[in-house]
Symmetry: C2
Subunit: 639 residues, 2 copies
């Protein structure tokens, strides 16, 4: 059993940053780093450490701006349209190509099109040349000694060109900040090892080192250090001895793990901040150890990545002489109520889509352990300290992770979950570069309600109506009577009972579920509607089903719960059972449709999606999957 720590002293984000800044300033570590001279060929993306002046003028001589003949303007004054003037080649007129230096004495160029050449040695001209006509004067682009680039400027391709063009072969750039990353936690294994039960793959160092490299700094990751005071102190001391600009100590997942970091920093220096009122991310530690700034990064991956964005990257940019990166910001409408802890700066990952001209934000899973919420996020909504959150329909201020132009083309599908929607997304993306189909799994019924509220471009549903023994159409009539809907079949899918491998309880029918623990789907899910219908058919009350209250949100989650012994049985897709190596007893084939409000049909994105549904390659791919039939895929369902 390790030490345990209860956080009492979380301080606001701004205060934590200020404390770090004061500590850096008093240690003389707040200024941009010194410069180093490197060849231009290696300087892309590096940051100038001083202003750069032109060494040479460009062009560094007067040169022809046209193909033609260089002349002295004074020699041409008598030329008239009605009286050609002859000039002797090599004496009065010199052939030049664009870019050629003017011969001595020449101060104008006559375009070749304005001349006539009666013989090898002569040209004729029909107008006087003005001095300096068609001449690029020396220094037109850059004059020697002129400032070409400012200090603290990140070098782009054209900047390198300009530097080369005015005579530079090297440039003095800020030294790259050097960061040492120490992953800690006895439960962690490196990513090239398979984790045993109780072990976790250590990947926060991959996220943070990638963030650091992307920011133009160097990252060195040490071996994983176990939860051991002395070992961590030694690792920290060794890292500090190599004089990096920054050390990141990545905590393991346990709450106590942070205390090892704090203790190790204390033993070598001072802990300045222990706990920041930021969600997700609380247990950030900031300190100085042996003269080096140290940031203790929380173990949950979302917290770790956000700590990188909020603390590490601004620090690196300051050392490079750059302002903190400001992501583009948009306003969007929340599609759900978001509760925020009053005392924290809350950073909520959201999926974004534009519907009916409004940008709408759907919060993604809030758990700090769900790295996929950051993978899927289009942006980060910041709900400041002392705000309780926003209501559905309220305004959110969102920093964008993706270009708005991509977001505006995103198709948002809400409703029932089907793993083959990912296959649809893949085919869509192969047809239309970077076209995204973002799937928010809320269940069939909630998907139709999302259409009604204008929160999704389309909804996936497989809602069985026992009265008419049909799918979906009665529900559209009930829930979306005003909305003209195009209803297209996506697939026929096999639903049934997902059972542990070998079916240890010998379950063969719905009736057997009385003696098993069931894993259910959430209210409004088509699979739950189907299950309730089957219970009614078998005259079983839901109270007789143990685990009926345990709700999972996707087929794969149900299968995972069965695989891991949370329940003995669940209802779901054959594909989900097979993916997890589980047994499956087929009960029925059902129709999964896509409901698309007609007003969303005309976009390029939706037209691409409709084209995929008609595409034979897609249908073949879909129909080849176990538990799927695609013979009706793309067919319009009459309503």
């Amino acid at each position: 059993m390790t030490k345990r720590h209860i956080y009492l002293e979380d301080i606001p984000l701004a205060e934590a940053r200020a404390k770090l800044q004061v500590a850096l300033e008093s240690a003389g570590l707040a200024a941009p780093l010194a410069g180093e001279r490197i060849p231009l060929s290696q300087a892309l993306g590096r940051v100038t450490a001083e202003p750069v002046q032109a060494e040479l003028s460009s062009p560094h001589f007067h040169c022809a701006a046209m193909d033609g003949y260089a002349v002295s303007a004074a020699d041409t004054v008598s030329a008239r349209e009605t009286r050609a003037l002859s000039l002797r080649l090599g004496l009065d007129a010199f052939p030049v190509n664009t870019g050629d230096a003017l011969p001595d004495g020449a101060n104008a160029v006559i375009m070749i099109e304005a001349t006539n050449q009666p013989d090898e040695a002569t040209i004729q001209i029909y107008a006087a040349a003005a001095p300096w006509q068609h001449v690029r004067l020396m220094g037109e682009d850059m004059v020697a000694t002129e400032t070409i680039l400012q200090v603290n400027h990140a070098l782009r391709p054209v900047d390198l060109g300009a530097l080369a063009g005015c005579g530079h072969q090297t440039v003095k750039v800020r030294r790259k900040p050097r960061v040492i990353i120490i992953p800690t936690g006895s439960e962690l294994v490196p990513l090239n090892e398979r984790p045993a039960r109780g072990q976790l793959i250590e990947y926060n160092s991959l996220i943070l080192s990638s963030q650091i490299r992307e920011a133009g700094a160097e990252a060195h990751v040490t071996e994983i250090v176990g939860d051991d005071d002395a070992a961590l102190r030694d690792a920290l001391a060794k890292a500090a001895a190599s004089k990096p600009d920054l050390i990141l100590a990545l905590s393991g997942s346990s709450a106590g793990s942070h205390d090892f970091t704090a203790a190790a920093i204390s033993s070598l220096g001072e802990v300045l901040v222990h706990g920041i009122a930021v969600r997700p991310g609380h247990p950030v530690i900031i300190g100085m150890a042996a003269g080096t700034p140290v940031i203790g990064v929380p173990g949950y991956p979302v917290s770790a990545a956000l700590t990188g964005e909020l603390f590490v990257l601004p620090l690196l940019r300051a050392w490079l002489g750059l302002a903190a990166r400001e992501l583009p910001v948009v306003e969007a409408m929340a599609t759900r109520k978001i509760n925020s802890p009053l005392g924290d700066d809350d950073f909520v990952r959201v999926a974004l889509a534009e519907l009916d001209g409004r940008l709408q934000a759907t919060p993604l899973q809030r758990g700090a352990g769900v790295i996929t919420s950051l993978v899927q996020a289009d942006g980060l909504a910041h709900i400041p300290r002392f705000h309780e959150g926003v209501d559905r329909g309220g305004a959110l201020t969102i920093s964008l992770y993706r270009p708005l132009s991509l977001i505006k083309q995103t198709l948002m599908i809400m409703g029932s979950h089907d793993p083959m929607l990912d296959l649809l997304a893949t085919h869509l993306r192969l047809r239309r570069s970077e076209q995204r189909l973002v799937s928010v799994n809320v269940g069939s019924l909630a998907g139709l309600l999302a259409l009604r509220r204008g929160e999704a471009h389309l909804a996936g549903c497989h809602l069985f109506d026992p009265e008419t023994e049909t799918y979906n159409v009665p529900y559209l009539q009930r829930y979306l009577p005003q909305e003209p809907i195009e209803l297209l079949t996506f697939a026929q899918r096999e639903q049934g009972l997902i059972l542990p491998a070998g079916n240890p309880l010998g379950i063969v029918s719905i009736a057997d579920l009385r003696r098993a623990t069931y894993v259910n789907r959430q209210r409004g899910a088509g699979t739950r509607v189907l299950f309730d219908h089957l219970l009614t058919q078998h005259q079983i009350s839901s109270a007789e089903i143990a685990g009926y209250e345990h709700e999972e949100h996707t087929h794969l989650a149900v299968a995972a719960a069965v695989a891991d012994g949370i329940g003995d049985c669940g209802m779901g897709l054959r594909s989900a059972a097979e993916a997890m190596g589980l047994d499956f007893i087929g009960i029925t084939w059902e129709r999964f449709d896509l409901a698309i409000p007609r007003r969303h049909l005309d976009t390029e994105a939706m037209q691409a999606l409709l084209a995929v549904l008609q595409d034979d390659a897609f249908k073949r791919d879909l129909g080849a999957r176990s538990g799927y039939r695609s013979d009706e895929t793309g067919r319009t369902v009459s309503q």
Copy 2:
């Protein structure tokens, strides 16, 4: 003399792109490139070549979400706040840290804060545990077989983390497109050689290879090939033989140079496009040589860089499976009239600034040889084919090269040119990261008029008023009577005659200019006002001054013109003369002031600028420059 070519067949941009696309499709080269498997540690920024599914669930076991005790919920049902239930450690309750696997049989975690430990072997609890409370279920983040990333996705730090977290050590990414760049032109020297008169430094290959690397592709630059049919054909054939995805043949500066490229492509395949109706950039060539696409890139650097943006980068992105990059677009108001050729898509580099809430665009130098116009550009205004341009005050659609947040903080100074404004910009930037001071040199008077029209945040001026024998104040009263202005002295500067080294004509005073060729400044420039005043004092008419009509726009340009023999003398700053190694005869010390409309004073950016003007380090730096005095720097001029 080389072959000459007159372009008759420029085709529209869209048509050129379509021709290339058709050729690529018929050669089977239009699809995204094949995949290659690489370690995650090398995959940042690479693009997935297939969708990626989770190998392992994450977490891959049920684990504690809190530090505390793992229990079986069923064992805890009798616990009440009023009647503690004792659990035996190691038998009924197991200490767990966040992230630890639940022991067999456990299905809930009780937080340590909710327990009491009367002795070493026992804990007491005061409430029943709900099944799965404080437990992170297996697969909460990712379920094995679930799609984690789509195909054609550029990998970010969090994506790499997610891949590692679900058991991947490698990822299949698109092969990097490989581009061979062949610089051509007998007048070119590589950037590590000093160019002789008539030679130019070849730096277009540096710009294009940097653009290509930035886009995630590989660039290989060959040696420079002279203007020689056979040599270029051989170089092209050799490049094609190594099977790159693309060859870029960079033309030299002469118009005829393109014909070598076209001829070489023809001899190995086919020229599809020769000349595109784009400005700048006309002579782009597109063809296929020995089965490889070839783009002939124009020689002028702005044309070359824009050809990279318009043709090369979209092609590379398509091969990587990505959509063409769309820069953020804004609308801005033109501060000048812009004339565009009717038949061309015209791309105009602009400087942007926000004034009085409006974004304003000032066109930069239009010449295709002026690479600094791209260095300075905040964005590119696209004036489409069949548009004649825009009037002053008209709306421009601009693709942004810099973040809008930076642009909005830019201080725009118009008016007189002084090289020390660059020093001011440097000190400003060291004080406030990435703060820009954009200087547009229009002359003192035009600067005041720009203030009147609300086009600049401040203006630099040194306008001598002969009547009152004072600087600037009478002009403010005349031209900006309605505008409250803060007038601050920037520096005292020494003006005089700039003469060739050794003063061959023996000029000692203004009167001697009657026997010299003069290099003048543009109308409205303070230096011209001063010169005209001096002529009046000496009773010289401007008609007596040869070269009076030759106008340059900066002190350095005047000095460069004198250095290069365009004229025998010019009027300008001591600093400009010394920068070019020229002689100088001092005539007067003048006051250069900054005029700032009071309504612009309150921004953070302007406050930083005012602070620099009061900063002793800046004043010392300025005062140490030859021809400058800073004892009045930052002083308010009473009006």
